[in-house]
Amino acid sequence: MTMNRRKFLKTAGIAAAGAIAAPYILPSGRLFAATGARKVNHVVFCLYAGGVRNLESVQMMDGNLMPNLLNGAAPISPDIAGAMDILPASPLSQPLQNYGTLFKQVKYRRGPTGHYNGHTVAVTGQYVDIDLNIRAHPENPTIFELYRKHNSPQKAALNSWWVAQNLGPYPALNFSSHEEYGAAYGANFIAPTWLISQDGYDVLGNPKVFGSNEKAAISNLQQFVNQNFNKSYTDGSAGVVNDNPDAALLQSFISDLYNKAQGGQFLNPWGAGPAMNNDMYNICFAEEIIKQFKPELLVVNMQDVDVGHFNYTSYANNLRKADFAAAHLWNTIQNTPGMANDTVMIIIPEHGRNQFGNTSVDAYGRYALDHTAPVDLISGDQMARDIFCMVVGPVGVVKQGQVINTAMGESSDVVPVIANLLGFDSSIPGYIGVKDYNSCDLKAAFY
């Protein structure tokens, strides 16, 4: 059979067009639509949570309480300055905002301004107009599930982490109850300040260690007993599932953390002494995950500023600690081979706080602040919807030193932005309800 040049070009052209336009089948047999190009290979989403009011953060009403993140030398208000804990010098050579874009007027647009609601919106990209059942997984798929289902090729759970500062409802955020997603696409979850604690060590820190021959026998026997039972515990009831090699890595990681804790490495890991709070420890453990696993997607939160319900001055103090922790996190990312200069970090509170104080007055005469903007968008205190957002990342990906002073961006932008950064936003079905990346104001942070 002969083929002239024109026919060859025509055939090759059709083949090439088909390769670009058609979905392709992975070795697993799953059909995938081709996904977009990645901007970076890692995203760290830091929820500066607990309820942070713009008045104290970007508007610096009491001076610059966040000098590691924000430019400005405004001194802390003298009446509360003496109550601030001494923190180490910034790990960064300049405030973090200079490594990216700062949005100063972002909205938590709809739904009650509760912590779990706010976290749920942050990780699903969809507002919830009701008070949520805090014992249940979100109804809409989380960013972890979207990533693990739609990223091509599919990635193991070890690539995605949800690191929570506390228990309560937060363990439920690593996957949703959505019938098309769920635990099979969930993230690894850890509440490290609970797990790597004295109580944790007491009950998990001294496991029986089997020899290699025993392990081989155990593996065969486990296979036998599970084959003789007609149900699997790992079909959702057991939470996120890692395959056996990854589960072994996780066991080793937990043991390593206990060994470090027993060796005193977490007594004063940042040189902050008694100023070290739960937020800082949570970030510290998130850094251990980053160093060990270099995850493609990690979400970590802080919540100690929520003391603001009772004590404004402690709220201000904890804002400073969260500020230091966020800068420390970025410094670790930039010093971790494989993640340095290939990571975008997004920092945003889950919601703000009220304009008007409640009845609690602290020792410095400051009124405490709740966060009570209910679903009707009218009653309560709508200032609790005002937040900021900071996006930092590599030169050429994130616009450096940009400050957006006008009202731009909302909480539901973060999920589509992460999906776009990791190159799978166009693969998320429209009926899932995640906002289209092209309609997200936060895209102004990127080239």
Partner: protein, 160 residues
């Protein structure tokens, strides 16, 4: 008079003492146990921890210990990983009630049967009994501790 009294006492004695009847219902004794096929419910966290502790130590877990375990259980997302670790820690705690290896060799079939009833609340089927008996007989690494660990980290142990 004495004769009437004697007759009265005789009637009372005869009528009040009656031999007890033995009723036979023609049923055979059964052991209440659950087939693996009908275990449809996943144990709750509290049930899993409490039952595992009782199975290994022959006593109820203290409330303080249960609270500690409940918190660490909630603090990690892969429940298989954390359950594995809980069981491995239990297996390293003094006071563990576990048969010594020689007693297995004495009556392996009985040991397998007893262990299945302890952890699965059922007898092993013929194939399971044979398989375990052979494993224990032929593989020195299959100790009582190994069998306990394998059954307690299996899918079936998580159901009732």
């Amino acid at each position: 008079m004495n004769r009437y009294l004697f007759l009265f006492l005789l009637v009372v004695a005869v009528s009040s003492c009656k031999k007890e009847s033995d009723y036979i219902y023609e049923t055979t004794p059964v052991t209440v146990q659950q087939s693996g096929a009908v275990k449809n419910n996943v144990k709750s966290t509290t049930e899993f921890i409490s039952i595992a502790y009782a199975d290994l130590f022959g006593a109820n877990i203290s409330q303080g210990q249960l609270t500690k375990l409940g918190n660490v259980y909630a603090s990690f997302g892969d429940k298989k990983v954390v359950e594995d670790r809980i069981i491995l820690n239990f297996l390293n705690v003094p006071g563990l009630q576990i048969p010594a290896t020689p007693s297995i060799n004495g009556d392996t079939t009985a040991f397998v049967s007893k262990t299945y009833k302890k952890f699965y609340n059922r007898e092993p089927n013929a194939f399971e009994a044979y398989y375990w008996k052979e494993q224990i007989r032929l593989n020195a690494n299959v100790s009582p501790l190994v069998m306990y660990y394998v059954l307690m980290t299996s899918d079936e142990y998580r159901f009732y």
